[in-house]
Symmetry: C2
Subunit: 417 residues, 2 copies
Amino acid sequence: MNQPTNFQSNETGVANAPASLPRRQILAGSVSALAAAGLAGIGTAATAQTNPVVPKPLPAYVGWKDPNSLIVHSATTIETKRQAFGSGLITPAEQLYIRNNLPAPDSAILADRDAWEVAVAGVNQPRTLTLRELKSIGLETVAMVLQCSGNGRGYFPSKPSGTPWQVGAAGCVVWTGVPVRWVADALGGVSAGMSFMTGTGGEKLPDGIDPKSVIVERSVPAQAMTDAMLAWEMNGMPISLAHGGPLRLIVPGYTGVNNIKYIKRLAFTAQESEARIMSHGYRISPPGGKGDPTQPSVQEMAVKSWINGPGTDGLPVRAGLVQIHGVAFGGLHRVATVEVSIDGGRSWNEARFSGPDLGRYAWRQFVLAARLPAGNFNLASRATDVAGNVQPQGRLENAGGYNNTSWADHSVLVTVA
Amino acid sequence: MNQPTNFQSNETGVANAPASLPRRQILAGSVSALAAAGLAGIGTAATAQTNPVVPKPLPAYVGWKDPNSLIVHSATTIETKRQAFGSGLITPAEQLYIRNNLPAPDSAILADRDAWEVAVAGVNQPRTLTLRELKSIGLETVAMVLQCSGNGRGYFPSKPSGTPWQVGAAGCVVWTGVPVRWVADALGGVSAGMSFMTGTGGEKLPDGIDPKSVIVERSVPAQAMTDAMLAWEMNGMPISLAHGGPLRLIVPGYTGVNNIKYIKRLAFTAQESEARIMSHGYRISPPGGKGDPTQPSVQEMAVKSWINGPGTDGLPVRAGLVQIHGVAFGGLHRVATVEVSIDGGRSWNEARFSGPDLGRYAWRQFVLAARLPAGNFNLASRATDVAGNVQPQGRLENAGGYNNTSWADHSVLVTVA
């Protein structure tokens, strides 16, 4: 709370800093041109705001969530509304997005949480552990951005198949459990030659088809175990069925799909899983192409930010002093700085962070005070992580619509009156 | 996550460090003797665990809360169960305690939150501000322990009148709003000679009686404004009616009653409020006495901790390695260290903190791994703040049952089998 502001001073006017346009990834030419003209966002966020999806009710298994904060795409794909994100550091469970590759198991698995079993393999003393045993091994807590691999897919003009998420397939969540490396230590350490950590979900699989074609099983590089956790609490309460309770594998810095719900097997393996969701799903495929094991897997998250207000509810913003605010995170790295533009990226001003820093994997809230006269403004934010990676202007085009970190795509067109 | 543990090592046995018995406050002789014998808690927490209150349903205005996490004392006094506190840093709204001095206003006040008005006085340019205007002035976020002045009253053998709270009239909550000092700056600064910051609640007062006898109006020292805030979000969502929405005065480090709900007037004043809740309520009165303005007011919180598990559910704990965990906070100061005893305070071992530090006013989660054989154990925790204040063994006896920070009172008797 070190940056006082008031009605008379400290505002940002129409700023004059030269635009900086880093291009770490393949830029989408047409959109970057729009952005350079200060008009990015018109065809994406702005359109979505003015053409709202017809509301669907919440499915019963998430009936405890806040319907006013959410967009129900389907029974297993539910998004947080951009204007519902507050500045409270942690996304409340009732606002958090849902993306399940398979329907959740029967809630009977929560009747005796401590009896849940996970088989641990690829260690020197492999065995099955109950959740009760895991709780005796250790207790740690981490705040982490949980983000669907396809968050931001809704901004791809190519309209990839899959849920057209805008910003709301993400949240910052607190997980409590036991670090995976403590579990591995308790079982004699990881066996030699294991390059991957592979988690297998406990969803019930449909009868009559090859399990590998549907099972949720993902591999991440073994070094991800350093900060990975077997978690039984989310935001201070036992993990709900919808979010993977009673036990979920948490891999900080990795996209949502790598955080295996209802985990029933954790294995250190020499090879990646052969499950289709690993071998062909969640791959960075060329536009129009299909996923295959030779392509990069969607795993580590990259630096990203977006603005959550004002004006994200589609209503006009009152002229005068406004507090432009949003969230920023670095994925694998800590976020270092955030800049905000009110002119679609022609000029930038550094925002300040508000509230405490919850660590490397959490998002931070940022704020920039600006005095806006009547007119139209294209608000954008651009984050930089401690490794010097800068959020790019354009998206990386790919068939699945994954990993969209484009600041231009995430800009917001607001009307000030 | 720097303190690995496993099945074979790193445990705490029956420790040998000499007991340290700091006595900052008046000790309750009989209980300190019990504690020295390793038996504190038998007559307090243990009794309450084995004689549970007959469950009452949640009142309608908090029907969205989690009934399994709460003890309903009355429609306006609802406590979090000790065993419901997780290790997730922040207390979810659905678990957070309720203590309202007056019934909540009609929910119609939430129909247009931004239209809520607060009169600001004792500044050089006094005026009434809408919540919409406040939002334009600034945006900040703070994590803070919110604790009822009477939390721990249930451990007083003298059975003071008032709700017999154990540990659960407290939570760690994230507030978002505008710092009070930025509001004061925007209105020309605080007028000269104002020693207090006085907040007035917007509850509807009963007809036919002197408003001063019932109105919720509290004064704190003016220096408390340094970190005070007019808040509109709690845990990232608009503040619920039950917790003081649409606008609440937040005074970090001060007990709950000083955080005025539905605030309608914020005044910098030369004198303390003459409302009865200030002049006679919430005073540290001698046992058997009544409150009066000459006695210390219940305001700043002091260093405190308690254990939340294992064994707080009253069930036997399995012998072997256990993770003893709880929360610790420093009130006005940052908490520095926590020690844990398994023998009622005869010996202590330093616990580690888990998870990120959310700042001076937040609580921290602590953990100590211990290997417990079958038998009875008295688990206690004792926190020290950065100013060197140590949580005392005994309570400060007072008529109202306020400010109980006794580590002996908060100890837990567990059976290990």
